[in-house]
């Protein structure tokens, strides 16, 4: 295998995951929270593919494709919820969604 080893890919994946986690924690706009979630899922995909390459096993690719399907479904439902929120005139701010609080 040419270029950097698996450990370098894993470090990139972890740093990307924490960038996404930081975005989820700090942003209030649900749209950007969803985008940061996509970054986290992609970081997970990178780790899966790095391990698949390391072990020479194609199962990791199948898993990565399944993660992509789930990410696409999550984006559809998340965006549908955001559009429904805006139609209900709910303010688009995740800190103000407190209706379920007891």
């Amino acid at each position: 295998m040419m270029g950097p080893g698996i450990a370098s890919y894993l470090v990139v994946s972890v740093v990307l995951f924490s960038i996404g986690a930081f975005g989820v924690l700090i942003r209030r706009s649900p749209l950007i929270v969803l985008l940061a979630l996509e970054i986290m899922l992609n970081a997970g995909n990178l780790a899966l593919l790095a391990f698949a390459r390391h072990l020479g096993d194609g199962d990791g690719h199948v898993f990565a494709l399944a993660v992509m399907v789930v990410a696409a479904s999550e984006a559809v439902i998340g965006l549908g919820l955001i559009v429904a929120m805006s139609r209900l005139r709910v303010e688009l701010d995740v800190d103000k969604l407190t209706t379920l609080r007891g």
């Binding site: 950097p4 080893g5 698996i6 890919y9 894993l10 990139v12 972890v14 990307l16 995951f17 924490s18 996404g20 986690a21 930081f22 975005g23 924690l25 700090i26 942003r27 209030r28 749209l31 950007i32 985008l35 940061a36 996509e38 970054i39 992609n42 990178l46 593919l49 698949a52 390459r53 390391h54 020479g56 194609g58 199962d59 690719h61 199948v62 990565a64 494709l65 399944a66 992509m68 399907v69 990410a71 696409a72 479904s73 984006a75 559809v76 439902i77 965006l79 549908g80 919820l81 955001i82 559009v83 429904a84 209900l88 005139r89 709910v90 688009l92 701010d93 103000k96 407190t98 209706t99």
Partner: protein, 187 residues
């Protein structure tokens, strides 16, 4: 180190730098529109890393599914809602931003430490792979042999998500009496 090895390193460093820069841009841009555009750069540089890992089919699917479909959907919704500014760090660092940085850093450190402790000595020499590794034919064969159930479950997940998206998008909102919301006129 021959020329090919140096080239792979250069591509890798460039892709990783673009990945981090565009990831931070997604998180830090005030305007959701620019964030979605940065996500395209993020996905493209991630696809380059996938190619370096011999995952050609996943890299192609990544660009098609994300840049082609998901980001376009994000851009449509952003255009529909209007890009509203959202700057949580305006007015100096808050307690929330401090703890967000702390938590994100803790996640990174924890994962690195756990992987280094449990598998650190087994990450050095990768397996030999054949030319078919990561090709559409190989992945298709895995999908209809070893992972047939996952394949079918995937189709059901997509169907349910599509139905849910249609229901969320078309059902007329009822009158809302909950606290903190404006009155919604009857439709």
């Amino acid at each position: 180190m021959d020329a090919g090895e140096i080239l792979v390193w250069l591509v890798w460093i460039g892709a990783a730098t673009a990945l981090f820069a565009s990831g931070l841009a997604v998180v830090l841009f005030q305007n959701p529109f620019y964030s979605a555009l940065s996500l395209i750069v993020n996905l493209a540089s991630l696809a380059v890393l996938f190619l370096l890992l011999s995952a050609e089919f996943v890299a192609a699917a990544q660009v098609l599914v994300y840049a082609g479909a998901v980001v376009v959907m994000f851009l449509f919704v952003t255009a529909y809602l209007g890009g509203r500014a959202d700057a949580p760090w305006a007015g100096g660092p808050t307690l929330q931003s401090f703890f967000a940085v702390l938590a994100a850093g803790a996640i990174a450190v924890e994962v690195v430490v756990v992987i280094a402790l449990t598998a650190g000595d087994r990450l050095t020499d990768p397996a030999e792979i054949s030319d078919a590794f990561g090709s559409p034919a190989e992945i298709g064969r895995l999908f209809i042999s070893d992972h047939l159930l996952a394949f079918e479950a995937t189709s059901i997940v997509l169907l349910v998500a599509a139905v849910g998206g249609v229901i969320l998008g078309t059902t007329a909102p009822r009158t809302v009496r909950a606290e903190g919301r404006a009155e919604v006129p009857e439709r």
